[in-house]
Symmetry: C2
């Protein structure tokens, strides 16, 4: 048994702590259009994405709205938004069907007619001919532009976006398809917004991910650095968000005259954060824990075999999400019934939620699956206790090449699904840390 170094009371609190953002002074409202949003038939992920990306560029968003596919109500929602914000980003309603009426509503708010744009007709026709498909007449509607608006050309689909001046304010229209929306926002809308706000700088964010520290412990570690940055004028800024079972996300945002200067500011600040937080940082480029593990295994040239019980296949199923997992992942023995631990994994008779069981499971996973490394999990997901252990008790076993298996005991909070999720990421994090030590002494 070694002292636990991971999973110590993981964070379970999604309250935000933000340092002061640099502030553009602009307030932009997000308006999602679609009856299916109001009916709860699809979740509105666009508004949250836009809110996050506006904030990280120093643009406030004080209100969000959603409205159905109804002309008068879209007009009313646009007028409401323009009355209380400096501009609006409208998502959705730019498709070719009868229900897609965002263009008409914007034209009414602008009080202008709609013209068909010949160059857009050409671009849309091209998309269809490139796919050897005939263009339905209805798609021509997507070439309609309220007079005075500037189209944002499409690069992924057929619906162009729009930049529509309304007095001193502005309405941006983007398709509701998330990847078309985000691409257009970054390519055309954000630069236009920053130009309008008088912002000449390049602003870039980078996300660093941390596991194994409580939110308050992390805040204490970082507090002096955040204070120093604030005192020095708040560029770059650091903000962090505890995201429960995925640990803590730390967003560093820097502003400078050009991209190269921003990148070198981000590099320097990232190094500062890593120096303060140490190996609790598992990703410096928003990679997931499974991608971090994949990278460690690939770099070490080692393969992995798993034996899991309470997680029931979660550990393996997260790992196979990484493309190319077959290079380093042999498989997993999911021994949910105790007898399978005894018969297939050779765990001696006795309690199966124990450090002995975890170590034997790790060693034998390595042997049975023919891998270099064995990783195991046994524990109590709840609600009932098992082997006299309360829910949340988890043993993680790890057998590295040519080494005896070790085990770590964790006490995890939460209900059944949460204990499983915490156990999964804790096991992956233990593997990642031990691999770093292992390869450090065997270069």
């Amino acid at each position: 048994m070694v002292t636990p170094t991971c999973g110590v009371r993981p964070v379970d609190d999604s309250r935000h702590r933000l340092t002061k953002w640099h502030d553009s002074g602009m307030r932009i409202e997000v308006l999602a259009v679609g009856t299916e949003l109001l009916l709860g038939q699809i979740a509105d992920t666009n508004s949250a994405w836009l809110g996050e990306h506006l904030a990280s560029s120093g643009i406030d968003s004080h209100f969000h709205q959603a409205v159905g596919d109804n002309h008068d109500r879209i007009v009313l929602a646009l007028r409401t938004a323009l009355a209380r914000s400096d501009g609006v980003i409208v998502c959705g309603g730019l498709g070719p069907t009868q229900d897609d009426i965002t263009r008409e509503a914007i034209a009414e708010v602008m009080n202008v007619p709609i013209d068909r744009d010949d160059s857009l007709v050409g671009a849309i026709s091209k998309v269809f001919s490139a796919r050897n498909r005939e263009m339905p007449e209805s798609n021509l509607k997507q070439a309609d532009v309220p007079r005075g608006a500037t189209p944002i050309p499409q690069v992924m689909g057929t619906a162009p976006g729009l930049i529509c001046p309304v007095g001193q304010k502005v309405v941006y229209a983007v398709p509701g398809v998330p990847y078309e929306m985000s691409e257009m926002f970054e390519r055309a809308i954000l630069p236009d917004l920053l130009a309008r706000s008088g912002e000449k700088s390049t602003i870039v964010s980078r996300v660093i991910r941390v596991w194994g520290l409580s939110e308050s412990g992390f805040a204490d570690l970082l507090a002096p650095r955040i204070e120093a940055l604030d005192a020095a004028g708040g560029n770059p800024t650091i903000a962090f968000l505890a995201s429960g079972i995925e640990g803590i996300n730390v967003r560093i945002t820097a502003k400078a005259g050009d991209r190269a200067s921003v990148d070198s500011m981000l590099d320097a600040e990232q190094a500062q954060v890593i120096a303060l937080v140490g190996d609790a940082v598992f990703s410096a480029d928003d990679r997931s824990m499974e991608e971090a593990v994949a990278w460690s295994l690939l770099s070490a040239g080692l393969t992995l075999g798993i034996a899991e019980s309470l997680t029931g296949g979660l550990v393996a199923s997260r790992l196979v999400e990484v493309e190319g997992a077959s290079v380093w992942l042999k498989g997993s023995v999911v021994s949910y019934a105790s007898e399978v631990k005894h018969t297939l994994l050779g765990v001696p008779q006795g309690p199966v939620v124990s450090d002995v069981a975890a170590r034997v499971m790790a060693s034998n996973a390595r042997r049975i699956l023919g891998s270099d490394i064995g990783l195991s999990l046994t524990g109590v997901a709840g609600p009932a206790e098992q082997d006299g252990r309360p829910p949340g008790t988890v043993f993680i076993g790890l057998a590295l090449p040519g080494e005896e298996a070790e085990s770590v005991e964790l006490h995890l909070p939460g209900d059944r699904p949460r204990v499983r999720q915490y156990a999964t990421i804790s096991a992956l994090d233990l593997l990642r840390r031990r691999l770093a030590d292992y390869t450090a002494i065997r270069p």
Copy 2:
């Protein structure tokens, strides 16, 4: 090889098709409160939930809004909502912290002072003493009630809800915690709304779930029934929604003078739907596919062992979500690497994406894991092809007690994660259907 009866081109389209709902004539706006929503730090699932549940009770929701933890802006959002709707449901901002200011904003809109309610103080204190915890002074704030409002007692947490009349209109306040919100909506808000709308009837919905039919195929089967219901006055109503990897959800809504009458209408309509759709119905009470499988196994008194490859543990990890899974689930061998299929599962040398491999995997999972039934999956998740098979090719093997293993070949659409998800639910559905046949001939 048998003819595939499941997974035939699963639905991948979330467009809604609704029959005309009965209409209460009321329009209720949902207002979500919380700066973290605007910053995209947490997703707003409450608004979608409320939108769906309002619609299924015949109440329209024409607009949703989100606003941050700012007094003036909450007041503005409330006034905006009251100007264009008959009432508002406000979610969030009822907690004990400084940021929780929904009560104060509502009091301003009502133009009334706030009183501390002694019976609420008692109820909140009791929650803490029952948990042997001291109550922080700040929690007393949750006993504050705008004069003229009616508190909705809490049964799950500490924050009471509020029913606040504003002229002829109404503001409901509920906590942002999803399970507290939904419980309060069903217990107190919906009955109050229906009473206000003059609705004296009881309205209840039931969700039936379907797998293995395309949306258009399903629509064709159900069309005559929906037309007949519409012609007969639209009570009950049937609406359905294709929800991608979870199949099709069919919502039957009935209205009658009392609960017993509603239930018997729902029972009768459910029987009609099942008669039209057959065994593609896997759940008549909104149960998940894994719960349906658990029920089949429990009723048959049989245990399950799994061998999975491309799904990497997903099948097992879905099944262990069902409480009490240890009664019927032995475990799973996740044979991600081909050599594990050969060595541990005894698959003969040769292609591992094949019907032979699936059948051997199922038989040997049954043997190795000591279960009554063996279920297996082998296939190509993509992006590259394997054994000359294109991505989406999946073989499911099934070995029932005392029977030779069979296998089913599927061709599933979508990218890597989607192929895995479709393969998982298709395998569970095959097991559910075969178990129904198996137990039918062995009563």
